[in-house]
Symmetry: C2
Subunit: 119 residues, 2 copies
DNA sequence: GCACTGTATCACTGCTCACTTATATAAGTG
DNA sequence: CACTTATATAAGTGAGCAGTGATACAGTGC
């Protein structure tokens, strides 16, 4: 499932917005979504599953609860897709900083690869 | 239709990628998409319509052709939705520049509103 | 152990939406 | 004008997916 397919659903977008504030239990997410969209608990649970399966969220058991958090890597991929359009509205300073960040990230990823190859 | 629903389709994303390079005729888009996705001309035309109707593309007649171009405003809205997540991977410099740009945009929009109210 | 709460999965269903074929509209060309 | 090319619209069909109710599973406290 492509990143944008995941974000194509309003419920999933809302869940991510909620998780952006910080870790939340399945039940907490469920409560808000039920109130706002009027859908059942299984429906919310399935959306959480989609988010998990596609790397948009991570889950951590805490007693009987399961705490969800955003995985920002997935959203960064979306952000990078926008890159090619961004130059039309991004001022040069931000573009430069983004470029610097991207270079950093590339170097980091490359370093990780080297670690794997020569452990 | 929400911006992310529009981007939820791989064909539409690809079309936007093509248009990001510059203005293209319906036929030119069609040729590429047909080759890559194997769908019919009407199918492509319908996707172009969705992009038009949702403000992701503008069209300009040129003789018998119709030239399509990206409307960046729509993509900026998507970009702004990502804003709340971006702080996790954006370096401070870029964040500052983005903030400056946003202030600019807000002032511009406000100015436009004033123009309307006192023409 | 049992009951209870919190969460996930299963099996099914209905609706949305992307596709197709056929056709309409519009502009250039002889 | 008829003919062709370029593009859009119409009508109908099929698949996918988000929803439901029922159920299973896991952890907590008695």
């Amino acid at each position: 499932m492509h990143a944008f397919d995941v974000l194509g659903d309003p419920v999933r977008r809302r869940i991510l917005e909620l998780l952006a504030e910080g870790e939340l239990s399945s039940g907490a997410v469920c409560a808000v979504i039920r109130a706002e969209f009027g859908i059942s608990q299984p429906a919310v649970s399935q959306h959480l599953r989609v988010l998990r399966d596609n790397g948009f969220a991570v889950v951590r058991p805490a007693g009987t609860r399961r705490l969800y958090a955003v995985r920002h890597e997935a959203l960064r991929d979306v952000d990078e897709w926008l890159e090619r359009f961004r130059r039309f509205w991004t001022p040069p300073l931000a573009a430069l900083a983004t470029e610097v960040a991207r270079g950093k990230r590339r170097r980091r990823l490359a370093a990780e690869d080297n670690e794997k190859e020569t452990p």
